[in-house]
């Protein structure tokens, strides 16, 4: 059975339990989609909680979101969209058997992923520096300028949402501290889980780039690049929803 379509030279990448390379590729793609479904449900749970609480506390949501760094998040959106393009072009190059191009495009993708995480770290560290009483992470380390108005947006005992200036508006909202904390809890859970996926994605891209550099792929066999690409695109899709729901409330 296994010999019917491949009498002329057996493809070394073809596992013995598959009849044809097409069948093997199809099985791998299908398996990846099944996994991506579970990923969508994982993030779906967070989006579900978000929907429930935004529905109830939408005024607090609008107020709380103003303390997030929207310009940085917009830059990150561009970074991720470009990385999705480089992955798509990388998979295309793999399908065309252009090994060097695959390595190059995957390396660019890793760089873009690292840039995304770097910006994310900047955002996070600013929030933590505020909790420590400093204006930004640099003054936190060097012991420079402190924060004028107390603010701590990291969920926990210390959480304090500043209501100083918009006092009339904010004081009319019951339980604003508790509900603002809910927003930031969801923010850190969602973007944190997304960042973990980015780290995993970068590791996968690194392995794929290394495999490509060693000449492990050809236009007949590039399934790992294809399904690795699917994973990367999913991370991009999650961000497509996180961006407007947290930064553009």
């Amino acid at each position: 059975m296994a010999t019917t379509s491949h009498e002329h030279g057996h493809n070394p990448a073809l596992q013995h339990h598959f009849d044809t390379p097409e069948q093997q590729r199809e099985a791998a793609t299908l398996g990846m989609w099944a996994f991506l479904t579970t990923e969508i449900m994982l993030f779906g749970g967070i989006f579900m909680a978000y929907a429930v609480y935004r529905w109830a506390y939408h005024e607090v949501w609008a107020l709380a979101a103003t303390h997030l760094n929207t310009p940085l998040a917009a830059i990150n959106t561009v970074v991720l969209l470009v990385s999705s393009l480089t992955v798509a072009l990388g998979v295309h190059a793999a399908a065309s058997g252009k090994q060097r191009q695959v390595v190059l495009l995957l390396l660019v993708t890793i760089l873009l992923g690292a840039a995304f995480l770097g910006i994310k770290v900047t955002e996070y560290s600013e929030k933590f520096a505020h909790c420590a009483g400093y204006a930004n992470p640099i003054t936190w380390i060097s012991g420079g300028a402190t924060l004028e108005e107390a603010e701590c947006l990291v969920p926990g005992q210390q959480f304090h949402f500043p209501v100083g200036h918009g006092a009339e508006e904010a004081s009319s909202l019951p339980n604003i501290q508790r509900n603002a904390q809910l927003f930031y809890l969801l923010y850190f859970c969602a973007t944190g889980l997304h960042a973990i996926h980015m780290i995993v994605g970068i590791s996968i891209m690194a392995v794929l780039a290394w495999m490509a550099a060693r000449g492990r792929f050809s236009s007949e066999y590039y399934t790992p690049v294809e399904i690795g690409g699917l994973y990367w695109h999913l991370i991009d899709i999650i961000w497509v929803f996180l961006f407007p729901l947290f930064y553009l409330v």
Binding site: T37, I40, W55, A56, T77, S96, V240
Partner: protein, 108 residues
């Protein structure tokens, strides 16, 4: 089913251009709502989600090759949104049946 490679490099660039355009649109819509034309929150969220789903459709169809994938893979991809819909419908249905939110919501 189909052999890969029916999506051209040119298409990838076009899709990328479309995604950037939609991203600009979602940011633009946000600032217009905030500064120029205040819309009911439910409409504003609706616009943002509509753009997000359009971007998702573009990524899934072209970048993730669903356009040239087998019927079964397409079914699996579509199923994830069905599972998501089931989760949202049952959970939100339960909340609404118990009178959520306790105070007034965006629809009232």
């Amino acid at each position: 089913m189909n052999d890969h490679g029916h999506i051209s490099v040119r298409t990838y660039w076009n899709v990328f251009g479309g995604l950037m355009l939609l991203m600009g649109l979602t940011i633009g819509a946000y600032y217009i709502e905030k500064l120029v034309l205040p819309l009911p929150e439910i409409v504003a969220v609706g616009i943002a989600l509509l753009i997000a789903f359009t971007k998702t459709a573009l990524i899934v169809t072209f970048f993730m090759h669903l356009k040239v994938s087998s019927r079964l893979a397409q079914l699996f991809a579509a199923s994830s949104f069905v599972w998501l819909l089931i989760m949202f419908m049952i959970t939100m249905g339960d909340y609404f049946a118990r009178g959520w939110p306790a105070q007034t919501g965006p629809l009232s």
